[in-house]
Symmetry: C2
Subunit: 69 residues, 2 copies
């Protein structure tokens, strides 16, 4: 499994964490998503390396922004 960490901005509460987790978890091949609210770090475990644009789209769908990437 590949673990990749992304930086997300705009999350302010547990609901935000849930929304990001749900959207990123829905990406094909994603096995595990861990979100740290305090730092905005989102660590994603996947079968294969992910296209960052699919992660960006999922984060955007949840209503937040991927930083750089």
């Amino acid at each position: 499994m590949v673990n990749t960490t992304y930086q997300v901005q705009g999350m302010t509460c547990g609901h935000c964490v849930s929304a990001v987790s749900a959207e990123v978890s829905a990406i094909a091949g994603v096995r595990d998503v861990q979100v740290d609210l305090a730092t905005g770090r989102v660590t994603v475990g996947s079968d294969q390396p992910l296209d960052v644009e699919s992660v960006r789209a999922a984060v955007d769908e949840a209503g937040y922004d991927l930083v750089d990437g």
Copy 2:
């Protein structure tokens, strides 16, 4: 209809607003709930004056705190 304004603390985003709105809307006799995220003010329209404890319980259930009241 009676309109009463309560002060809620801890809401940080639109999800918080939705959670409080949903819980307070479920109180018997409540017709309308308006939440102002910036100020934390929750204005509730109801058929009859509400028991503040029922509002406090709903806000608590959503995960937030009613200030004084």
